[in-house]
């Protein structure tokens, strides 16, 4: 497979790049020349370059089918990219570089990387046959080998943090959508992730439940978590994002501070998109 061995890109870049990489190494995300297509189809991701510094919150916006989900899924290795490099908090995702060649990681190796990245799904994806507490402690116990008592104590702390203290014994179906998503966030946080990726975390929620989930995300951002949030909630993006990134047809069309992006977008396509969603 061509994707198994990929020439390293970073070494060939100018020193400025290396400095940026150093920033990302401490807890950020650095993506270079990422491409991805499905089954020989057109490129769903067509040369993505993106830098997220530690503690930043990036909002990823763009029309349906522009590749936002695919980008997040590549970052935490739910999809394997065709080419390009992803660096998260010092980890070369899914790859190993020995100084000469880049090789693909074995499953056990990339699972360890995956466990360091939190992922929030549109449909929550809580385990329905497990209680809230069991959902949260599952990965700390089975992946990290944390002692049970410690995992439970931490889980209770996290449940309280997302405002659901006392619901540890409930099954997901007994909770509202907003509550389920908050538990999903607690489940991700239980692994102490370096970064948190959220793919439309509020799109499956009734409008009156959106606020409670966004509040939790807002608190997380304030506490210094590095986050990439795909969202259609433009007011949220405007308020909390450090940067807004606009994607279309697998490319990053424009990025900038929320003020600039929403008030004076440079690109015609950004303007068109924003006119439709704002």
């Amino acid at each position: 497979m061509a994707a198994d061995v990929i020439r390293d890109d970073l070494t060939a870049r100018p020193p400025a790049e290396a400095a940026e990489a150093a920033g990302a190494a401490a807890g950020g995300i650095l993506i270079r020349s990422l491409t991805k297509s499905f089954g020989g189809g057109p490129r769903v991701l067509d040369g993505i370059d993106l830098t997220v510094e530690r503690g930043q919150l990036i909002c990823l916006v763009g029309p349906s089918g522009s590749g936002k989900s695919t980008l997040l899924r590549c970052v935490n290795l739910l999809e394997s990219p065709d080419s390009g490099m992803i660096w998260v908090s010092g980890m070369l995702m899914g790859r190993h570089f020995d100084g000469h060649r880049v090789r693909a990681l074995r499953p056990a190796e990339y699972r360890r990387q995956q466990s360091r990245i939190g992922m929030i799904f549109q449909q929550f994806n809580l385990f329905p046959h497990l209680t809230v507490l069991e959902n949260i402690i599952e990965a700390p116990l089975s992946v990290r080998g944390v002692p049970r008592a410690e995992a439970v104590a931490r889980a209770e702390e996290l449940v309280a943090r997302v405002g659901l203290a006392g619901r540890e014994r409930a099954y997901p179906r007994e909770l509202s959508g907003g509550q389920q998503q908050r538990i999903a966030i607690a489940r991700a946080l239980a692994m102490d992730p370096d970064v948190l990726l959220c793919d439309e975390p509020t799109s499956a929620l009734d409008p009156e439940l959106v606020g409670e989930v966004l509040n939790v995300l807002r608190d997380l951002a304030a506490s210094g978590m590095t986050m990439v949030v795909v969202t259609h909630e433009m007011s949220f993006a405007r308020e909390v994002a450090d940067r807004v990134v606009f994607m279309a047809e697998g490319r990053i069309v424009e990025e900038g501070a929320p003020e600039q992006m929403f008030s004076h977008p440079r690109e015609e396509r950004t303007r068109n998109f924003l006119r439709r969603v704002l």
């Binding site: 990387q113 466990s115 939190g118 692994m191």
Partner: protein, 335 residues
């Protein structure tokens, strides 16, 4: 319902719309639009006396006929002297029958347990990314589902002709141990092997269906947490697949219980063969077949009850089957 009035679908209450043979007001069929006036009257009539339920005459007549037929058939069986109920009672707990019963239970339990173990492996192989494992699993299922159990039992019973000696050692090299096949494999072992191989092909399909029924979002969530695939299968996928697996698995268990009766052809003294051995001596064929039938009935009933409780256990967290579910769609007025 205590309703005595028909909704006023005809403006003239003197006429009876219940007899479709006599055409009533030709302008109003049961579904034609009614005037605002009539609508107001209908509202008042419904408020006063409710709605007359539909009469299911056919259902009542059919039910009565079926009940009658059942009573007659049962009476005829109970009173027919050929069944010799007294003899049935004598043999129901005879030691040879009980021994056969115990062997039947053993055969069923062992072969079903092994079938689901092997079936799980086959299902995982079939769903794996490895094309060789996929093909082997597919071929196994295809072959052993195609060959009738009876044929297989006879085949395994006669395997000694094919491989008179079994040896363990280096393939194509020297053997460390060597046995006469017929010594090593008793009839009972042949029965377990034949049943297991046959049932595991079905178990594989049942388990595969269950695994496929689990939402892929569950797999992604588990993968994103960095969970090991074995753990994902055991902790996340199979418990959820259980809801889909259990009903057909219960059927497979019951059908295996009955299939064990086929081992009588290879002289394994299961419940049926025990009964046959007895009636070959005393010619009380019908009563002894009734003894076997009663035991199969009892065991099947016990298994059905057990299945009910096991299914309930695996419904945890799933509103649809746990009784906390969405309100049932109210049935239209019926008897």
């Amino acid at each position: 319902m205590s309703a005595t009035h028909r909704p006023t679908e005809t403006p003239t209450p003197t006429k009876t719309p219940t007899t479709p043979t006599t055409p009533t007001t030709p302008t109003t069929t049961r579904t034609s639009p009614i005037s605002p006036d009539d609508f107001a009257k209908a509202v008042a009539a419904e408020r006063a006396a409710g709605v007359i339920p539909v009469r299911h005459t056919g259902r009542v007549v059919l039910g009565a006929l079926a009940a009658l037929a059942t009573v007659l058939a049962t009476a005829s069986v109970a009173r027919n002297p050929s069944f010799q109920w007294g003899t049935v009672g004598d043999y129901l707990f005879s030691s040879r029958i009980i021994d056969g019963l115990i062997l039947t239970i053993w055969l069923t339990a062992l072969s079903v347990a092994l079938s689901f173990l092997i079936g799980t492996v086959l299902a995982v192989m079939r769903l794996s990314a490895n094309p060789v494992l996929q093909a082997i699993s597919w071929a196994y299922t295809w072959f052993f589902r195609s060959v009738p159990l009876l044929v297989q039992l006879l085949f395994w019973f006669n395997i000694g002709y094919l491989y008179p000696r079994l040896s363990f050692g280096i393939p194509f090299g020297p053997a460390w141990f060597s046995f006469e096949t017929s010594e090593l494999i008793s009839s009972a072992a042949v029965a377990v092997i034949g049943l297991t191989i046959h049932e595991s092909a079905y178990a594989a399909e049942i388990i595969r269906g269950g695994i496929l029924s689990v939402d892929t979002g569950q797999l992604e969530a588990a993968e994103a947490l960095g969970m090991h695939p074995r753990r994902v299968l055991g902790r996340i996928v199979l418990p959820q697949a259980m809801r889909v697996i259990l009903p057909p698995a219960g059927s497979l268990l019951i059908s295996t219980l009955k299939s064990t009766s086929m081992v009588s052809v290879i002289a394994v003294t299961d419940l049926l063969y025990a009964a046959q051995l007895i009636y070959n001596q005393n010619f009380l064929v019908i009563p002894l077949l009734m003894v076997a039938t009663l035991w199969y009935l009892i065991m099947t009933s016990l298994l059905s009850i057990a299945q009910h409780f096991v299914e309930k256990r695996y419904a945890r967290g799933f509103a649809r089957t746990s009784g906390r579910g969405p309100a049932r769609v109210p049935k239209p007025d019926s008897l």
